[in-house]
Amino acid sequence: MITRFRQVEMRLMGPLTAIPIVLAVAVLGTIAALPVLAMVISELTQDFIPPGLQHLVTVAVGCAGFIGILALNPIYAIWLERKVAAHVQDRLGPMRVGWHGLLQSFADGIKLLFKEDLVPKNADPVLFRAAPMLAIVSAFAAFAIVPWGVRSDGAVLAVADLNIGVLYFVAITSLGALSVLMAGWGSNNKYALYGGMRAAAQMVSYEIPTAILVLLVVAQVGTLSIPEIVAAQEGGFLGIGDWLIFQMFPLNLIGFVLFFICGLAETNRTPFDIPEAESELVAGFHTEYSGMRFAFFFLAEYGNMLLVSMLAALMFLGGWVGPFGSNPLLLFVKGFGLVVVQMWLRWTLPRLRVDQLMAVCWKYVIPISFFLLLVVAGVRGVGAGW
């Protein structure tokens, strides 16, 4: 009887696989709703607001969108991750709390919130407490420069429209390595220490190619400001022809793939999840963490996932410009698409060993990205007439 039930269940699986996609779109809509709403309000009110207050309104709108993303993204990203994992693995995933388990993450969050606030006796109390805070701050602070659209009058919708946006991104994400190191050292646990050391080595190594690949974009567009990078990708064949990924084929395609790989490594996702390698290091740097502190690391991880995905979308996939003109929703579609790819990879691939991970970085990713930069800079140089 059990078998029969299982077979019925199996037969249901086929059509059910489509559900995550449908739901992903729904979730995306929910998350994107706040920024989009903010933008609409901003568009409608710009004529009534005195010019002196315009900047203030833009910042307020930016912050509203920002909070919308940060509050809702991890909750739904975790749900999405579980659904993707479940359907890769031929099972259903969360189904009980809410429709198709949509409220599962809220239940989990409440559970984590009410857990005991534990600090191990021999841990370093300051480092142990500070590490999750730094993790979440570094993950969320980087979102400050992530714009998600421009208003019709040209104002950029972001918390801060920095003219050195990508530089800020490279700088802030480095803080993540510090938080992991602090957690590993402060826990006073050998497994956590191993995790912290691995994470430090990994993140520091993969920052180099990340920076080089950012330079690759900068060398072609000629600006460090993200809205201008996006603006440079507007137009072209079908509205997608001028996306950077299609320029100088296949150099930028390789660059995009490498950037995505570096993003995976920086967010400690499989196949690069050695700092928290479950089967080797129990839970790596967050072995001793529980309750809300653990949740902070979790939130930071999902924040970072979305961050690198959106950065990749902004720099290589045209950000909010596309075949249907300029639309913030487009950026979220691209960003979440890449997040789903990250999840897909995680549930398909095994994990690299620590020396192989370093070999991938130093032997392949860094030389190739340097080569790309060299070629692109050379071509640009020749184009500029020297």
């Binding site: 078998t3 693995q89 129990v282 095994p350 690299l352 620590v354 020396d355």
Partner: protein
Amino acid sequence: MDRKAATGQDGGPLVTLYDEQLPPDNSYAFSPEELEEDEMILNMGPQHPSTHGVLRVELKTDGEIVKDARPHIGYLHRNFEKHAENIDYQGVIPFTDRMDYVGSMGNSLTYAMTVEKLLGIGVGERVAGIRVITAELQRIASHLLAMGTYGMDIGAFTPFLLCFQQRERVLDLFEWLSGARLLYNYNWVGGVSHDLPDGWTDRCTRFLDEFVPVLDEVDSLLSHNRIFIRRTADVGVIPPPMAVDYALSGPNLRGSGHDWDLRRDDPYLGYEGYDFDVITGTGEHGPIGSCWDRYFVRVREMYESVKIVRQALARLPAEGDVHENVPRFVRPKGGEAYLRTEAPRGELGFYIVAEPKKPIPYRVKGRSPCFVAMGLFHEITRGEMIADIIAIIGSLDIVLGEIDR
């Protein structure tokens, strides 16, 4: 200290171990004084997600490199052999189930056959057929677990669930057959506890038909993945001479390229009449005897087990009483018997010494393949990295219930 004597490998009394031979200060463990600079002792287990049970491994590490590893066993010791000296012959069978708890059918089969050898009785053709079917299905279930958990050890989670889904179906079959899903108490002295229910063979055939494509899929997902190969080939290499020196058996021995399978070389239950191949490691990736070879031997053995089950189902006699030869009282005339079979993990043997006309055995000794395999653990882990230790433990496919007994 003579480990062989200490573990009762020579059949001697176990008591002396604790009284005389074990140093009082437990000097088997690493002492902090012997550490050089930059070295650290890392205690892995007995509560660790990937030591496959309650194995405790002490690692002397220098960064990520493991200088030395010492396994500590005994956390799951349940006094099987001493219990067996106080219970009648049939009553020992549930205890044998609990030795290798993911391959219960093989254990009780071996024990029951040893007692039958002691009594000088045989079993009918139908019982032999049922025993072959259950033993091979158990091999499939056990290797599925080995394959799935090995993928998880390397970091791939998905093969684990796909393998367990299929393993559940074997357990469903066993549940229908014996009423239990893990510890079956199915093989009795002189027979089996229940005959096959109506429709069981059909469902078994259906399982085999549906299982092979899934196995193909999992195989393609994991076995030839480049990351997986790089993680397992060239790691934990057991050269062919070392495999013999340490008396390995089963897939661990065959992974090193030795063509040795008790089902073919020392047949029992009529295995000589079945057409199947003995799988050996090929060294396709890296040197022969690597973790990948041992893993892949298990994967391909599942296909052979499917072949055997199909043949056994085809030639199973329709009629026959499975309790025909079950003795009412087991009272051997005395003497001793040793019998070995090819269990999923290797050569499993029972040595029984009988007292004349007594219903309880004088001594029961289990020869466990996992315990023997742990003997070379320190040899193949020295100089590897921490992640490789996990890969090696997984590739040896140990079950702590069988090591500690």
